[in-house]
Amino acid sequence: MLNSEHDMDWSRLKKGDIKALEAIYRAHIKALVRYGLKITDDIDLIRDSIQDLFLEIWKQRHNLADTPQPKFYLFRALRNKLTKVQSKQSFVSESEMQLVFDHLSAEYVELEIMNREGAAQTANTLKQLLENLPQRQREAVFLRFYQNISYERIAEMMNMNYQSVLNLMQRALKALKKDYPRFPSKK
């Protein structure tokens, strides 16, 4: 796996090497921004949270646990930050909100699909569909299919149990494929 180098950076970081912090930043920043966008549209919030995150890692470097996968650690920490702020703003628990959103966007996706019937179906369509997924489905798809993070880990990150993650993904796949009859099965 490509993580061996970052692993070394992580231990260098713990010894107080600022260059290691930079290396870790460079290795993961794009994925972190992408991930942040799956959770919130607030780009300023993402930017601030990432800066805070790296500063905290630097300040806490002596207390950091060893990790074979810094990416996982960073993703999780970023998620914590973003969802903490979000739930503070909304005054509604995350799960309640999600319930509402999941429901709303599911309907929205269906409407979208009807409008699009017969339209050219390209990767762009898929991109659109991804964007229209409920936030948590979107997040799970990104983590599994793009970041190659196992469902077990995703469950850990998203504070869900393993089966719920699979259910979430199942729903996401259904929604994506509904409007994408080109795959997989030929009907």
């Binding site: 912090l21 780009i43 930017r47 990767a123 299919f145 469902y151």
Partner: protein, 354 residues
């Protein structure tokens, strides 16, 4: 959903399959090769699932990058500076520590005198009990008065009006309490929103100019440029209850109904004459002492330095349009000195000029 579709989804819900598609060094390659060989239909299923996965990857890849390479570099710079070049800040922390200790000593006496059992003070409470650096400025003159805030904002304070704020304005909010009438020109800083508290309302602003009146009978906010949100004091749900006030609008608190009413107004007499003055504070080859004395007055902040050491220092600087810290940075850089800033004021140290 037909059965082949379901089988494909099964593959996509299998970590080992996804890893095999994404990771060129997947440990599961052997397993899937065997699986493919088991049945001709498997090849078809795997191909479809794989195609879908790669399409998703492609779609994700196309996601735009809203921050951009340059933005990412800026963020890194910011992190690195904050992580390393924290000299002046850590200075400040140390100084604050000393200040807190001094006040605690004073507190012990007071507690004894009151015959009150001394509570176990945590560092937090000590900080709170320390002199909080509140600055109160009152305009007792007949004419309007121009004030400078440490963040670079300006206030034209009407006669009889009063504002209070923290000397450093360095919290996560900039906060000002107002009674009477004042015209605000707020330095833009979305990271540190500006709040004005009056008797009944709270005005939140990111950077703009407007007038706030809070004088017993009337409380109103009139906006010249930008936009502010106004909400009633004591309402926590500031987001939902806030009134957004736009230029040429005035938001008034109605005492009868205890609500906020927004109306249009003809024109806000912008107090440019007073504000215009602020651009004229340029010093050319001025004696440091003169500049410091002016600064002290402008920001109502005590500045301590050794006048003898800096006796030969002359500087060229313009004051009033930047934040206090930015101005201090320019000054100390010019005379090769350093500064510390705390609730008690500013201290400038250095070896003087030749």
């Amino acid at each position: 959903m037909d059965s082949s579709e379901e089988k494909i989804n099964e593959l996509l819900l299998d970590n080992r399959f996804v890893d095999w598609v994404i990771n060129p060094n997947s440990p599961y390659a052997g397993y899937w090769q065997e699986w493919l060989a088991m049945d001709a239909s498997h090849v078809q299923l795997a191909a479809e699932a794989r195609k879908f996965l790669l399409m998703v990857q492609l779609a994700e890849e196309e996601d735009t990058d809203p921050i951009g390479e340059e933005g990412l570099e800026q963020m890194l710079d910011h992190i690195k500076t904050a992580a390393t070049v924290k000299k002046s800040r850590s200075y400040r922390m140390i100084y604050r520590g000393i200040a807190a200790a001094a006040v605690v000593a004073g507190l012990v006496l007071l507690v004894k005198w009151l015959q009150h059992p001394a509570p176990l003070t945590s560092p937090e409470t000590e900080k709170q009990m320390a002199y909080n650096g509140e600055v109160i400025r009152y305009n007792g003159n007949k004419e309007d008065e121009l004030l400078f805030l440490p963040d670079g904002s300006k206030i034209v304070l009407s006669s009889g009006a009063r504002v209070a704020y923290n000397l450093l304005m360095n919290g996560d909010k900039r906060e000002v309490t107002l009674s009477g009438e004042a015209y605000f020109d707020i330095a833009k800083n979305p990271q540190q929103p500006f709040y004005i508290y009056t008797d009944k309302v709270v005005v939140k602003v990111l950077g703009t100019s407007f007038r706030v009146t809070s004088s017993g009978q009337q409380e109103s906010v009139a906006v010249a440029s930008g936009k502010v949100s106004v909400y009633l004091k004591g309402q926590d749900l500031e987001q939902s209850a806030a009134k957004i006030v736009l230029p040429k609008q005035v938001c008034t608190y109605s005492r009868e109904q205890a609500t906020l009413v927004t109306t249009m107004m003809a024109d806000l007499p912008v107090i440019t004459a007073k504000l215009g003055k602020s651009n004229g504070l340029n010093f050319e080859d001025a004696h440091l002492d003169t500049v410091i004395k002016t600064l002290e007055k402008m920001y109502a902040i005590p500045i301590t330095y050794n006048a003898d050491v800096f006796a030969n220092c002359y500087i060229t600087v313009s004051l009033g349009n930047e934040s206090l810290e930015d101005i201090l940075k320019v000054i100390t850089k010019t005379i090769d000195a350093s500064y510390t800033i705390s609730n008690y004021g500013i201290i400038i140290k250095g070896n003087g000029c030749r």
